[in-house]
């Protein structure tokens, strides 16, 4: 039984067919021109868009469990974070203080108003919010796009630690060549809906 994330003949209107195997602790960086289907690929893996084919986590197909249970294990972080309540804390069940500290926040951040947070702060807090679920797969859609270099380093260190210690599978969509070299255990390009290995 294959462990990690397995993608078999994944196909949507604009994508695929895609076959892929990513082992626990691996970080696959995906780059490609805008409109090439990077976001669509992540959405299909999270089962947010209808698709053909199967996605499996440690040998268990997404179709074998309720969709929300799948998404608890396979977490998608969008480039632009969404907040629906007034305070940051309203969006958290139990905040992980260690994660918050690594991202540069103290516990008082839970009382902050969403409207007064910068885009970068919201982006880092959205990552902390997603990590509450302790996902086994992280689908990251340009997670450091609006961060300064200090905070980029924080996010990269946190993700690397989760890979190492929890064996999290990471699919990281990034335009940043230097970042790809820092983070990737593998690097692929997506060209008009299909994946190509980069060396």
């Amino acid at each position: 039984m294959a462990s990690g994330l397995t993608i078999k003949q994944l196909k949507t209107l604009h994508l695929g067919p895609i076959d892929l195997q990513v082992a626990p602790g691996e970080c696959l960086v995906i780059s490609g021109p805008s409109g090439s289907g990077k976001t669509l690929l992540l959405r299909a893996i999270a089962d947010l868009d209808a698709h053909e084919g199967e996605v499996l986590l440690n040998g268990v197909a997404s179709s074998a469990m309720r969709a929300h249970e799948w998404r608890l294990r396979v977490g998608l972080l969008t480039a632009e974070s969404q907040w629906w309540s007034e305070r940051i804390g309203d969006h958290f069940q139990q905040a992980n203080d260690a994660v918050l500290t690594q991202l540069g926040f103290g516990p008082e951040v839970m009382g902050w108003e969403v409207a007064r947070c910068s885009t970068g702060e919201r982006q880092r807090l959205a990552l902390a919010r997603l990590l509450q679920n302790s996902p086994k797969v992280l689908l990251l859609d340009e997670p450091t796009a609006s961060l300064d270099s200090e905070n980029v380093a924080r996010v990269e260190a946190l993700i690397a630690q989760w890979q190492r210690e929890q064996g999290v599978v990471v699919l990281w969509v990034s335009h940043d060549q230097a970042q790809a070299e820092r983070m990737a255990t593998r690097h692929m390009r997506i060209v008009s809906g299909s994946l190509q290995e980069r060396v």
């Binding site: 999270a46 089962d47 947010l48 868009d49 209808a50 309720r66 969709a67 929300h68 249970e69 998404r71 608890l72 977490g75 998608l76 972080l77 969008t78 632009e80 974070s81 969404q82 629906w84 919010r129 997603l130 679920n133």
Partner: protein, 266 residues
């Protein structure tokens, strides 16, 4: 005291008032004279028609005829609900959600009221059944149209928030919970307001009618209270069903938000 019969001249004089209003609208370029004229014409024709239908129905008071007219009223109300949606469901659902909810609530409440509360002989006596159903349909139609419209347009506007919740592992029900609650509230506001204002600001139409027809005021009041309660529960249950059905339809079996099942209305 019986009803004072109206002469054709009375109606002509009332119509003259509407014509005067249309003339002012035309002179001042409000642009409302044409819709006003058409609406006035429609009200005249539709009411004359229903007058004849009711006259015929009262003379042939069988369950089949009462049921047929009720069904026709339901279908027209269903069309009206669809027409008031900015984003309607595609396919049979567009018509089905509202019509089914109205059927469940209005028909159930009417049949219940006729059999257990008012108890005319026979229970489907059209003099009671048709006006009662008409009042219930008219009001549940409002609640359902408002509730559904709020549900679908909020889902449309807040798609990113809903999907963001789904990505965090929320169930479809939890992802749309606040929108569903708000839609229910919006559907029920008109009847809550009507109950609060009844008798103080407005004299409800049915009670007014009974008093004009010579009924003692306290008898008319009892009927009006009964009707208010029936309308409130009919609207509430109808909106509940419609919003529940609608919010289920917004997601598929994999708990994906399916806005492609909505079509924007021009």
């Amino acid at each position: 005291m019986g009803v004072i019969a109206l002469s054709p001249l009375d109606l002509v004089l009332a119509a003259a008032l509407v014509l005067l209003l249309a003339w002012i609208s035309w002179r001042m370029r409000f642009g409302i004279e044409k819709p006003l004229f058409i609406a006035a014409l429609r009200t005249t024709l539709q009411l004359i028609l229903i007058g004849f239908v009711l006259k015929a129905l009262f003379e042939n008071a069988t369950l089949v005829w009462v049921a047929l007219l009720s069904l026709l009223m339901l279908l027209i109300a269903g069309r009206e609900v669809v027409a008031r949606q900015q984003h309607r469901f595609t396919g049979g659902w567009g018509y089905g959600v509202g019509t089914l909810s109205m059927f469940i609530s209005s028909f159930a409440v009417t049949v219940l009221a006729l059999n257990l509360l008012i108890q005319p002989q026979p229970w489907y006596l059209p003099q009671y059944a048709i006006p009662l159903l008409g009042m219930l349909l008219g009001n549940t139609m409002n609640g359902i149209a408002l509730g559904l419209d709020r549900l679908t347009s909020s889902a449309w506007q807040q798609r990113q928030v809903i999907e963001s919740r789904l990505m965090l592992g929320f169930t479809a029900g939890r992802a749309i919970e606040d929108i569903r609650r708000e839609s229910m509230r919006v559907g029920l506001v008109p009847i809550v307001n009507a109950m609060a204002a009844a008798g103080v600001i407005s004299l409800p139409g049915m009670m007014t009618g009974q008093i004009l027809a010579g009924a003692p005021p306290l008898e008319a009041v009892k009927y009006q209270i009964l009707i208010m309660f029936l309308i409130a529960s009919g609207t509430g249950f109808g909106t509940l069903v419609a919003v529940w059905l609608g919010s289920r339809r917004l997601f598929d079996e994999r708990e994906r938000l399916r806005l492609d099942r909505l079509r924007a209305q021009n």
